[in-house]
Amino acid sequence: MITDEERQRYARQILMIGEEGQERIKAACVLVAGAGGLGTVIALYLAAAGVGHLRIIDCDVVEVSNLNRQILHWGRDVGRRKTDSAGEKLSALNPLIRIEALSCRIAEKNAGDMVRGCDLILDAMDNFPTRHLLNRMAVDQGIPFIHGAVRGLFGQATTVIPGKTPCLRCLFPVNPPQEVFPIIGATCGVIGSIEASEAIKLLTGQGKPLAGRLFLWDGLAGSADSLAIEKDPSCPVCGKLI
């Protein structure tokens, strides 16, 4: 049940999703993997929307060069752990929810525990090896995985529903080389918002998720569209579910 305080706070979205939808959001545990450009946008919107339990994981500290895009980290936060910086602002934004901020690196040995019990996993990573690890954990545990990635003025997103849609490995079988990627904050805003929207849609059962579609954002042209995507029947991660 939602309280009178929550009814007031979330009044404008309850117009869309009803009190039942708000209760689903409140009951949810969502993992935001990364508190950088994408993760800060995602976490801000999901906290504001009232996701009852937000688990945020990042192993880094705030650097000056993060401040052009990582909107939960401010000048005074340089040198602090990103999870401390993000957790503090998210709690101030919405004290009615539980923020679980874990400052650690996502690795093979701990990833299973980190995703366990979550209703959704949101990809806000900056590298494909960790994305693939989370994708595998999501498929193994049957947890929807919302992928997003950005570079420059371009971005992409898709929602992996284990057993139903292609997984990340089907689409991106080879990891690209690591790079210091160019980026403006607004691109993180676009793709992070798409990922947060996908999360709300999945939690409330509203709308049509980006399942089996790759959303493509071309900020240079100011244009967005999506591409139908297909499973790889021999995929080493999800092929066994076909």
Binding site: G34, G36, G37, L38, G39, D123, A124, M125, D126, N127, F128, G148, A149, V150, R151, G152, F154, G155, Q156, P166, C170, L171, F172, P173, V174, N175, P176, P177, E179, F181, I183, C188, L214, L216, D218, L220, A221, S223, L227, A228, I229, E230, K231, D232, P233, S234, C235
Partner: protein, 93 residues
Amino acid sequence: MKITFRTLATFSEVIGAREMELTLPPGEKIGELLENLCNAYPGLRGHLFDAAGLIKPYIIILKNGRSVTSLQQLDTIIDEGDVIAVFPPVAGG
């Protein structure tokens, strides 16, 4: 045969379009299409191929939404009406 070619980001900047309808000879393979595109748009070659002339393995190439890595890679035969998408990795967060 007619196909739809889609691309994004730096590739579309080089080509000057994100989507094109192309007319190809029947039986053309993905590798032949990429080679012909590189001849038509020379700036594309360095994005797609390494110094040894091999395709960069992380370039995303989809035939009707399926990665050609799980088909016959560059030997994948293109069919009438296919949507071939080729784009660079977008990996930041």
